[in-house]
Amino acid sequence: MTTRLTRAAAGTVLAALALTGAAACGSGSDQAPPAPTGSAAPAPGGATPAPGGQASDATREAFGQANQGALGLVALGGLGTDKGVGDQVTGLAPDLTSQGQALLDQVKQAASAQGVALGDQLDAQQQALIADLQARNGQPFDAAWLQAAQSALQQARDAADAVLNDPNASADAKAAAQQALAQLDALAAKISAASSSAGASTPGSVNAGSGGQAAGSDDVLPVVLAGSGLVLLGAAGAAGVRARRSRA
């Protein structure tokens, strides 16, 4: 288990580092829009230039994104470990924490080497998600946690995909992203399976109507008309028979 987790975490780290590498190439890719980095109000877990740092804005943004994503994974994993009740959540939450923590450590180390200081707070959206989950207990918590974990992992996979699709990313960056994607896919597949069995997967369709009345398709009018017609025809037939008998 430890070996698997380490490899998975390393893959996630590679994705983050590949992302920073791709951003450092100065690509104009819009597939992974950077977090706002206004110097006056940096993202809570985002990146700011350290004294003497030489990193470009794009690199700081990429580090900030990776750091923020890792903080989210760690918080989500910790919450699942604390509040999960089912085997699926209590089994998967530590994996999420491990991957997130390893990513966090590696990103901070790499960022520090390039003179980028990273924050350690969740952003407002992540805080709101955690608060939403904390308000639940039992099976409803597990279902919501699985859905949130799916969403967080999908965002990480999207980041790796962005590297793969960036024409300016280096071959090394793309190879690292490919490896990371494979690792993320493995955990995402487990969480997806758990979500499905818990009724927490994202619905593919909504079937919400079977009567036809709202569409003016109730069967009453045709039935009334047909019934009346049959009654009239029957009455006419009976009258005809009586008339023939009375003549006879």
Partner: protein
């Protein structure tokens, strides 16, 4: 003669009618990428998520005040086939439980209900094609809290084309009301489309 005419009329009605619920698109769908403000908490150590700002509430009642319409809300999930489980009674609506809580600071609160039912008639969400931009929608939580929204937009999608972000777990908070619409197929007793109303918190 009259009886035959009525039979013919009934046949024509059955064969020629194209029953449908239509909804004109209105308003602007709330953006999914609006920026958030800076974090307020300063106690967020990795691995130990602390108590943060107040979370949302489990919705138990839906009100459309402008129409004096009210419906109980029950939690629902996703069925084994991947379809949202919608409560059978059309006067009851379902809240997609894995999604956002009412009043949550992020994500979409999804409420769905039958537009009609063969055995129970018209549903409460049959009014969705008529809701106007700006109209109020209120969700009441199990803690008694009223969470107020205003209609921002309405769209009609083919069922197979319902956007996945209808159920978005992140992004700015919003409410989505979903029912069926479009052409009704009497043979399969189902509608071709979904009508989706988007509302933003007040």
């Amino acid at each position: 003669m009259a009886g035959a005419a009525l039979l013919v009329a009934a046949t024509v009605l059955v064969l020629e009618r194209e029953p449908a619920v239509t909804a004109q698109p209105v308003g602007v769908v709330p953006a999914r990428t609006a920026p958030f403000g800076p974090a307020k908490s300063r106690d967020l150590r990795p691995g130990a998520p602390p108590k943060l700002r107040t979370g949302g509430t489990v919705p138990v009642r839906l009100d459309l005040p402008a129409r004096t319409a009210t419906a109980p809300v029950v939690p629902v999930g996703t069925g084994p086939g991947g379809a949202l489980v919608v409560p059978d009674p059309p006067q009851t609506v379902g809240w997609w439980e894995p999604g956002a809580l009412a009043g949550s600071g992020t994500g979409t609160v999804v409420i769905a209900g039958h537009v009609d039912s063969r055995v129970a008639g018209i549903g409460i969400l049959a009014v969705l094609p008529e809701l106007a931009v700006g109209e109020p929608v209120v969700l009441t939580g199990d803690d008694g809290r009223a969470v107020r929204y205003r209609v921002a937009a309405r769209r009609e999608f083919g069922k197979a084309a319902l956007p996945a972000d209808t159920f978005a777990r992140t992004g700015p908070p919003r409410l989505v009301l979903v029912t069926c619409g479009g052409r009704f197929d009497p043979a399969t007793r189902s509608y071709e489309d979904n009508i989706v109303v988007y509302a933003e918190p007040v």
